[in-house]
Amino acid sequence: MSYRFTEDHEWVLVEGNIATIGISDYAQGQLGDVVYVELPSVGGDVSKGDELAVVESVKAASEVYSPVSGEVVEVNGELEGAPTLVNEDAMDTGWFAKIRIKDASEIEELMDETAYKSFVEGLDE
């Protein structure tokens, strides 16, 4: 499987019917030092575009939106004690939540790595 991305800089990695969600390396760099992550409740349902989590950096709070609809089946408890994982390893151990996918076609709408890369390059710094 390969990463898919949203224009809000979330990433999704799909295995079977489970989507792991995090924020991109570009996003963590923009946010700066992450000091707290508010995660969703396991068992809750989210729709695509709903607020899934909140990332607090030293500077400000930023919402993370769910790229897919489904049920939250797991959250990354490591982030509670080590929120800086989001800065250090955004694309892997800094993941936020796993969602059981309701509608697989939502994944198809997301950017692949190449498209996301050019999307980020096109953003004004």
Binding site: V58, A61, E80, D124
Partner: protein
């Protein structure tokens, strides 16, 4: 970010960019919010070594006349007449209701006053001072000088390498001296809670002097992001947030900046309101707040009592890099202002427990001589 033609740059702009700063608009200036190290590291570096801050966006004024100390007391409640030459004091401009129009630092030099005001207020302050002092004193903007702060436990040691006399300057004093060949106005003051200095430098020599300071092993450049978290840990107010036209020095807990003589004599805008508030106690009071858990409570977060009634608001809040917990300050009714009082903070709609706490959150370490 698109180019905003009206945004101003300080003389150190190119140096910030060269150092890799992320620039953001602040009070009409393009300012460094952080350098590549990031806010956390910059903050901790200032607490353990020394940080160099560009504060050239702030206003530097000189007030001269027959008796400028007496004259300015008609506009601010600070006791300026009691200052000896070379001493300085924190004060504020007040309106007729005793609300704070800006906070500022007044230094008595030989015959004149050197005043530093907030960037966002400098035009308004200058106009107010000019109008208010007309016929008694003249207000001159020092547009030809940069202002930088060197803050931290190693600041004195570093600066003394270039001008050994700085080592013995007590907190809140002023001297004119040559630092690495550059004539500076030096004050032992700052906005971090640490020992440190502010240097007013001729514009054309500011970059050279800053490069020399940054060449010292202990010194790193620090952005506005860490400046904000440092001052919050030190319990220091930020104008426009913790202090506004709606807050009085009494509510803000800044009565220490109004001497007994000034409280008794009055003679500044809003004196009657402030005197009445001293006698009757203020309705609201600025307090330190420690949220439970790790979620920071930001500015404008509502404060409730344990029953859920909204009783106040956070005016500054964030994460303390030194303590590794969230910290905040805000205004609550007097009955809720005792240290240890339990309150709730409505963070994203959910009440979270918090407690009124003593400030500063991190001990101030000023050099008293």
């Amino acid at each position: 970010m698109s180019e905003n033609p009206s945004i101003k740059k300080t003389v150190l702009f190119d140096l910030h960019v060269e150092l890799g700063a992320k620039m953001v608009p602040f009070a009409g200036y393009d300012m460094p919010v952080q350098y590549p190290d990031g806010i956390l590291k910059e903050h901790l570096h200032t607490r353990s070594a020394a940080g160099l801050f560009d504060v050239s966006h702030m206003g530097q004024l000189v007030i001269s006349g027959a008796d400028p100390a007496k004259a300015i007391e008609s506009l601010i409640p600070g006791d300026i007449q009691s200052l000896a030459p070379g001493e300085m004091r924190y004060s504020f401009l007040t309106n007729d209701k005793g609300g704070i129009l800006d906070d500022l630092i007044v230094t008595r030099r030989g015959a004149d006053l050197f005043v530093v005001v907030n960037a966002a207020c400098k035009e308004q302050d200058t106009a107010l001072l000019r109008d208010g002092l007309r016929g008694q004193a003249e207000v001159t903007e020092l547009a030809d000088r940069a202002l930088v702060a060197l803050q931290g436990p190693k600041a004195a040691e570093v600066l003394a390498r270039f001008a050994k006399d700085v080592a013995t300057m007590p907190f809140m004093t002023y001297r004119e001296m040559t630092i690495a060949g550059v004539p500076c106005f030096v004050t032992r003051s700052g906005y971090t809670g640490e020992d440190g200095f502010e240097l007013s430098i001729p514009l054309d020599q500011a970059v050279t002097l800053c490069r020399k300071l940054l060449g010292e092993a202990e010194v790193k450049p620090i952005g506005l992001g860490a400046r904000d978290s440092l001052r919050l840990e030190a319990g220091l107010c930020l104008y426009g947030h913790d202090l506004t036209e709606e807050t009085t020095p009494v509510a803000a807990g800044l009565l220490w900046a109004i001497s007994k003589r000034r409280r008794t004599e009055g003679g500044f805008p809003g004196a009657a309101a402030i005197q009445a508030e001293i006698a009757n106690k203020p309705a609201m009071r600025r307090v330190g707040i420690l949220p439970e858990g790790r979620a920071p409570a930001r500015e404008h977060t509502e404060i409730t009592d344990e029953a859920g009634n909204v009783i106040g608001e956070i005016t500054s809040g964030g994460f303390s890099p030194s303590l590794e917990i969230p910290i905040a300050m805000g205004y609550v009714p007097l009955a809720f202002s005792d240290v240890g009082t339990k309150i709730n903070l409505l963070v994203r709609g959910k009440p979270r427990p918090a407690m009124v706490a003593k400030m500063p959150f991190v001990e101030q370490r000023y050099y008293r001589g």
